[in-house]
Amino acid sequence: MRSAELQWKIEPWGKPRGTKPVMTLRIPHSAFRILGALWRLNLAEELQYRANFAASVLGTLFWIGTALLTLALFFGHTTRLGGWDYWEVVVLLGVFNALTGVVEAVLRPGIGRLAAEVRSGSLDLVLAKPVDAQGFVSFRRLDIWRLADIPLGLGLAGYALARLGRVPSVAQLAAFAVALVAAAVVVYTIWVVLMSLAFWFVSVENLSVLFDAVYEGARYPVSAYPTALRFVFVYLIPIAWTTTIPASALTGRLGPGIALAAAAVAGLAFALARLVWRMALKRYTGASG
């Protein structure tokens, strides 16, 4: 089975080579085929609906517009928000929008429906399939049109950078890319942890709303909040790592080295997501210890 899958082993820290890995991640090549088939089906479905694309893009532009107006309102009464300039915050807004694209296109249609699936028993159908349940549930549906949010968000961030008159160095761009991917992983983790509550609170249908509540604070730089909240947003509900860190990497507020920290946080987050999922699934299927 070796050549037909991708493998990623997480070795235990500080132990000699060859010690049993803490966790092994295997992605069989068939997974990509399956995903491809699912997404092709999605695309065919979506194209049927007239103007869905235009509607989606217009919607995103509208909400970006309102967010910019909100910022303008705040900055009408101050020159810096938590030490950030207007255009620096717009860069963050662009990052927020790009991540929203990931959430709306991939996460909400997938793992966001977990509560409903648990309740209706559809999850059992998934568990009976020869695929990894977490991967399947997370990525099986795409809301194609929302992917447009990603270039829109990144475009906004780029424009804001231009207005700041800053040209990011290669190192900064690389750091930004790493931090952005890490941010996506952190967002994914938040979703998995929150949605896993569905296994304990089966009757709650709108668990995905919990994410929206938690994520609302990611619209603004973490320094704009009182100190206590800042602690929460960096260490407890790590939304600071979703928007503030990548934006800081891009604008140069933080040096490129932050990418390492972001990657580490992402790795931890992913492992945590996997762990929580397996605990939740064990409980669901009634398996012991």
């Binding site: 509607a55 217009l58 919607g59 509208f62 909400w63 309102t66 107006l69 909100t70 309102l73 705040f74 009408g76 009464h77 101050t78 928000l81 938590g82 609170f201 009757s203 709650v204 249908e205 709108n206 668990l207 709303v209 919990l210 929206d212 509540a213 938690v214 609302e216 604070g217 619209r219 603004y220 704009a224 909040y225 009182p226 909240l229």
Partner: protein
């Protein structure tokens, strides 16, 4: 049985049903409530930071705190989600059995609003009282006159928001994109109804435009009655505006319903 008694019985049964169903969904409702307060909480956080250097257009930190807590309560008492339900009913064929009954579907919607608001407003009030124990900034004076006027303003605002919501929901008779129009209205009301900031903080041109529309009367005016920011002539102005726009939206609802039902009967659902 007199007509009034008949309606009282009908509403009694409808509200009781809605209350009991909400009881089953109290966890979900709590989550919706949580989501409903995060937006004003985040806005408060930002204004709190900005007002750290001094009052903004007459609003000091404590004023912002009072404003946004009052906003949380008034929003829960006035918000209407019927547009989304109606859109779903029309598209999923759930309107049919309601139309076959000798009861206009709007009554069911009103009763559900009453039950839902009683429940969630109660929850917000409890939270507010608890917070007020620890945080003096959010306390409000207990003047019965002020609370009576607030009740009236809230009632008028809730009625108007209900008709706005129901009417926009009826757009589903004509378009599958009714939810987009609802989103548009929600986006505009972010600013013009005072959800992001007290109207005094808006650029004068924008605030001026808002004054010609119904948005301030949805939320900002009842909030200001509650916090005491509106008094004297502004009160009279505000109530007059509420009554006027309520009338406009009731007329709009009646037009949309009569036209919409005709169209529904022509093209089916």
């Amino acid at each position: 049985m007199s007509r009034a008694a008949g309606w009282a019985r009908r509403y009694g049964a409808l509200i009781r049903n809605a209350w009991l169903v909400d009881l089953q969904y109290r966890a979900s409702i709590t989550l919706w409530l949580l989501w409903g307060v995060t937006e004003p909480a985040v806005a408060l956080g930002i204004w709190w930071t900005i007002a750290g250097d001094g009052p903004v257009a007459g609003y000091a930190r404590a004023d912002f705190a009072r404003y946004f807590f009052a906003l949380m309560l008034v929003n829960q008492l006035t918000i209407a989600w019927d547009s989304w339900y109606l859109d779903s009913w029309i598209r999923e064929g759930e309107l049919n059995f309601r139309l076959a009954r000798p009861l206009h579907p709007a009554h069911e919607a009103v009763a559900e609003n009453i039950a839902y608001k009683a429940r969630t407003a109660g929850m917000i009030l409890v939270v507010w009282l608890l917070v007020a124990l620890a945080w003096p900034a959010v306390r409000l004076p207990l003047q019965p006159g002020r609370w009576a006027l607030t009740a009236l303003a809230v009632l008028l605002a809730a009625a108007m928001r209900f008709f706005i919501s129901f009417t926009t929901g009826l757009l589903a008779f004509w378009t599958t994109r009714a939810t987009a129009i609802m989103d548009l209205h929600a986006g505009v009301s972010l600013f013009l109804s005072g959800r992001i900031a007290p109207l005094a903080l808006l650029p004068p041109a924008v605030a001026g435009a808002a004054a010609w529309l119904w948005f301030p009367y949805m939320l900002a005016f009842p909030v200001e009655v509650l916090t005491g920011a509106a008094y004297g002539a502004a009160l009279g102005h505000g109530f007059a505006g509420q009554v006027l726009w309520l009338g406009v939206w009731i007329a709009g609802y009646r037009l949309a319903w009569s036209r919409g039902i005709k169209r529904y009967g022509a093209v089916g659902g």
